[in-house]
């Protein structure tokens, strides 16, 4: 296997196109290098994306945020404006592995590894993140929702890579949160993950809601029927229980070494509800902070 560390997008796309299926792009490498070690993948060429300016850094503009696809979880956690705006996305990114893994693991890698249980993906879907893809055919923007097709399978074309993620500036009354269930407190793959974002009016009425679940289907899923349980009303416990029930109903998980189907189904609802509660609390806090400052 050969290693290449291109300095530009053109160079990277060129290398990936040339080598075709034998090439593999790498960001943090925290999944990929494990796959190399176990022999699960045996690429001829590894294209390291971390030296390409477009994939690095976080921009916080007036319109919103641009997060480079190869930016590490630790850098994301250190970006205070992003944490302020999208705490759910940041807490999900920070849950990817240990402190050591955080030093390397990226949103781009977490998404392209295409695990149904990836922590950052439900949070990104809930937040409405869009990613920029570049490949031999050019550039396109795709919602995170549409990237993962199944375990290990993405919508990316050959030699196409994710360059960055875009998140808007959150509107007033927005809140997001991510919750996951693991048997330990750290160092586990999610048995269930739930990302929720809401936007509420100052009155408390829910104006918008997105719910996404991880590890309960072949890919992370958006559950609009669960979100609809909150829409247009002040979310009380009854509405939240409805959201939980619909999230559980949408779950279609498998039995595996990490958890049973029955367990995942049940806990999907619990976590969706808890994430919604936290997102609503954050949304309420935003209104409170705004009325205090004015």
């Amino acid at each position: 296997m050969e290693y290449a560390s291109p300095r530009s997008l053109d160079e990277a796309i060129g290398l990936l196109s040339q080598a075709g299926v034998d090439a593999r792009p790498m960001a943090g490498g925290t999944d990929l290098l494990v796959q190399l070690r176990t022999g699960a993948r045996r690429p001829e060429l590894l294209v390291d994306l971390k030296q390409i300016p477009g994939l690095c850094g976080i921009d916080c503009g007036s319109q919103g945020f641009r997060i480079g696809a190869a930016v590490s979880g630790a850098e994301i956690g250190e970006c205070l404006p992003l944490r302020e705006a999208w705490p759910g996305v940041v807490e999900a990114a920070e849950l990817i592995g240990s402190t050591q893994i955080q030093g390397r693991a990226s949103l781009g890698g977490n998404l392209c590894n295409a695990s149904p249980a990836a922590d950052s993906v439900p949070a990104l879907i809930a937040a409405g993140a869009v990613c920029t893809l570049i490949g031999p055919a050019g550039r396109r923007e795709v919602p995170v929702d549409d990237i993962v097709r199944g375990p290990g399978e993405t919508a990316l074309g050959e030699a196409e890579i994710i360059v960055d993620f875009r998140l808007p500036r959150p509107q007033d009354g927005t809140g997001d949160a991510y919750q996951r269930m693991i048997p330990r407190t750290e160092m586990d793959i999610a048995i269930v993950g739930a990302g929720v974002s809401v936007r509420v009016a100052e009155s408390g009425e829910c104006l918008a809601c997105r719910v996404a679940l991880g590890a309960v289907a072949a890919r992370p899923i958006r559950v609009d029927e669960a979100a609809a349980a909150l829409m247009g009303r002040r979310p009380d416990s009854e509405a939240l229980e409805e959201l939980a029930a619909r999230a559980s109903a949408a779950a279609d998980p498998i039995d595996d070494k990490r958890g049973t189907r029955a367990y995942r189904t049940r806990v999907a609802g619990v976590l969706a509800r808890r994430a919604a509660e936290e997102a609503l609390r954050r949304a309420g806090d935003r209104w409170a902070a705004r009325s205090q400052s004015s």
């Binding site: 176990t38 269930m181 048997p183 330990r184 407190t185 750290e186 160092m187 586990d188 793959i189 048995i191 595996d256 070494k257 990490r258 958890g259 049973t260 029955a262 367990y263 049940r266 806990v267 619990v270 976590l271």
Partner: protein, 754 residues
Amino acid sequence: MSEKSTEGRPLKWVGTRPVRPDGVEKVTGRARYGADFARPDMLWGHVLRSPHAHARIRRIDVRRALELDGVKAIVTGDDLPEIASEQAFVGEEPTDYRMLSQNVLARGKVGYVGHAVAAVAATTSAVAEEALRLIEVDYEILPHVLDVLSATADDAPLVHDDLCDRKGVKKNPSNIANEIEMGHGDPEAAFTNADVVVDRSFTTQAVHQGYIEPHACLAEAGPDGQVTIWCSSQGQFMVRGYTAKLLGLDLAQVRVVPAEIGGGFGGKTTVYLEPLAVALSQRSGRPVKMVMSREEVFRATGPASATRIRVKIGATKEGQFLAGEAWLDYEAGAFPGSSVAAGSMTIFAPYAFEHARSHGRDILVNKPKSAAYRAPGAPMAAFAVESVVDDLARQLEIDPIDLRLQNAAREGVQSSFGPRYKRIGFVETLQAAQEHPHYDAPLQPNQGRGVAAGMWFNAGLQSSAAVMVNADGSVSVISGNPDIGGSRASLAMMAAEEFGIEYEKVGVRIGDTASVGYNDVTGGSRVTLATGKMVVEASQEVISQLCERAAKVWDVDVKRVHWADGKAKVLDDEAIEPLGLAEIATGAARTGGPIQAIASGSVRGVGMSFGVHLCDVEVDPETGKVDVIRYTAFQDAGRAIHPSYVEGQIQGGAAQGIGWALNEEYVFDDSGRLENSGFLDYRMPVASDLPMIDAVIIEVPNPDHPYGVRGVGEAPIVPPIPAVVNALRAATGVCFSDLPVSPPRVLEALDAVS
């Protein structure tokens, strides 16, 4: 040498907390562990492992692998000598050399996924791995058995069809490799007199010792037949003995140099790689290094047995235990030799029973051969018996510690495994737990408190130690036991105490097999106890020599000389200036030459150590997740030589037990393949999973040890499982009989009752 008691003698070092002798090298990265050795021109060895749980090997073709550039040697089962069946006992679990040889390298048949089939040495690790892919093995797949129930069914496939009993006589074909029974009285009759009888069955899954250092070794076989092995293990003499036996070498030709060991917990009391590395070195004429991957460690080295245990206890309504009976089925893995005997011995050991009996069965299954794991066999047995005791306390409405106190084993009581107890500290340990503020601290909703007890033996076995006085008056101690958790410190402290010198003046080294007398393995909680006793004896012998030398210098009768405060003194003449170690040692050439002593022996006077643990858990009723929020462990240490390392043993054992209870388990698929062969999915506790673990040391001195030491390493893993599960029961009202109590299992149980 007589056993001197330390009663009444002021102690300078014992009970203090000096920095361990090997500390600095371990915090600076200089300490060398098993994988840290290299030799010029060294080859790398790798092992081809079976993908099948049970299969006959029809043919192994290594020709293509041998043709690969860089491959220097390959060994398969045909290359190792056939070994006669012979029982060995140098570790904590019985080993038959013939079976051990077959486990190291399969002959004719593979017995589990991960079983070694061939080994390759090549110029680089990558070439060796590539060569494994070129070895062609023709397997005839056989039906397999993966658990006790299917293994003991009438039509079960046989893991071995030529199994012999301990006398070498071929047995009726079955997967029951061994059956044992022990106890006294007539439990069956006694149950009829009981006011209350609790009879429950329990299951536990296989768990791994989880040492962080994978098995590793470097072997060099010279053209003269001499062999040197550098490796980490729980016993350099064990490695020498097993490797020599398996390869037909003389013990004198094999030297094993002990590396620092990165955790063992019983799992490094046997060999996996060393005979293969030597065989590859013999064939290639070059040193061969072998290091297991973590996956290999999980797939091919010994887990602790999965078990099914039934326990029945009858008691009077006042809480007097009348009778206990237990049936223990332990998975041995693909070769005989689980820890069921120790499980059967310990299950009723903490209590005084007039009638007690246990029936143990060692059962073959197509899983990796089980290996010793800290108090082998006892934690599962304690889970069962302490859960039943908890039931009895609830049914009888007696405080669980009062109930245990009422029935606690104490001096003079007939133990369930045979001998009568000498002085033990179980009652004192229970009392300490009961009086501790933790025991009646308030709890919040969804929280519960559990209490459980447990015991483990202190092995004596064979030990040797050498003690020598250097010319400058410093003292060198050579021990033959790898230091897993600070035993060098305790040996140095005991030597400093004997000589009456500064701790820093004692150097302790772990000798290789050519530089110190034979030692059984570091295991059985025996090193500070037994090897420590040899250090004390050798020190006392050296002290009498020092007195003799001083007598010569002074030209007085040696009977007038005694040793105090690091000096030889004349008892009845204070005018004679005492002579210190350095003065005597400097003049040794004129008084008879170097001063040293070796002590060796089969150490008797083994003790018992009892522990009582208090555990608070909090349960998330919606997810079934259990958090341990407070934990206090009480243990009788006899005398804590270095209290920090005693506490460390208690804390570490508790953490392992908590992991065993909550989340650790081997998960096999239907084909017998381990699904969680890495630390990601084999869920050992991480730092954020645990609270501080308060360790409370009780000191009821062991009358058979010069400093009163009891071995402390193993007992702390015995009570945690039932302590956690009893706490979970208190929090939820639900009885749990199957491990681990992982979130899915807990939630399912909560749902079942609601």
